[in-house]
Amino acid sequence: MLDVLGLAVTNLTSPPILFFVLGLGAALLRSDLSIPETIGKTLAMYLMIAIGFKGGVEVATHGLDSAFIATIVAALLISFLLPVVAFWMLGLMSRLGQVDRAAISAHYGSVSIVTFVTAVQYLEIQDLSYEAYLIAIVALMETPAIVTGILLSRSSEKGGKPAPMFNAYVLREVLLNGSIVLLVGAFVIGMISGTPGKEALQPLTGDLFTGILCLFLLDMGLVAGRRLLDTPLISPGLVAFAIAMPVIGASAGLASGIIAGLSPGGTALLATLAASASYIAVPAAMRVALPQANPGIYLTLSLAITFPFNITVGIPLYQAAAQLFL
């Protein structure tokens, strides 16, 4: 019998999550604790390098398996289609206009790499294996939702007038944003350098990983807490959406992982990706593509509600579900 509660406690008492809670609490109590912006960015770069490299080395050692292509297809379908579900749900659960709904939907189809990294760390604490190529697949899941979001904003006559000249530019920005370039680049470096490379970088990408993740999540806690403090009034329906949507996304990821033939660990990771919502790349893209949408709403939902939900309760829940079905 699976001990879901035990899994949740394992997660909630792990140092990274506790540091996140510390940051969140400090921000909510208006402490002057802050991590300088450039250091925050450096920590994020470190995480991209460490996780990308690790994935590349694993793929070099173990190769790809039969589930690889099916997983790519599933990841793309999830990323293109989840915004449609989100858009429809927002229609039921809020009174927002079409453009705001479309902009929020794009966030929920896209992914949060930090949520993913936290899930990887969580699996590793438990010695649960997963398909390492999922790390490269993350890169494919950032952009499609933006396309769907923009299309949804135009889906009826009443839709806001788009800013046409900027759209090709937006896609390039997102596809080639620094995190993705670093993640994919480190993945390729890991594949080329293989096990000897892993040994050479072990002190940096291996031993330091959990510690740096703690620092980074402390910063994320501060950022999410500050976001909550300057939040515009968010209706209860929207709060419910920001918690229900990741669960729906995770169910889609779970089903896809099972159909594609992933391991329980891999299925849990795909579910986590589908559950996560972007709060870096997509907001920037939405400011350009859908300027009429209110950034206060989409940033609060994805960063201040969905992200904390996923890393505290979501990840253990998705893993338990994956193990229950597989």
Binding site: S34, E37, G40, K161, A163, M165, F166, Y169, V170, E173, M220, V223, R227, D230, P232, Y279, I280, A281, P283, A284, A285, M286, R287, V288, P291, Q292, N294, P295, G296, L299, L303
Partner: protein
Amino acid sequence: MNDEHRRRRIEIIIEAPLLEKVITEVQACGAKGYTVLRGHAGKGEKGSWQLGQISPAQHMMIVIIIADADITDRILSRLAEDLALYSGVVSVSDVQVMRPQRF
């Protein structure tokens, strides 16, 4: 300084994600140079913002251009069209410059 030294100074406060696009447009209009500054914090029609958010979505950048009247008009009419829906401020002032041949 005399008339020969008169130029216009355009100041564009714009959301960070639009910066590159705006700079491309400004140069296409014939401006010979520009300067970009980072905004620190501010408040406007759509609420307040400050540097240090995790997404660059709400950071504001300031672009300063010195140009002659013709180029200024071209820049303003181009931006009026492109920036209609976006947050930000565009203002123009008359200035006198040293070494006018540079602008």
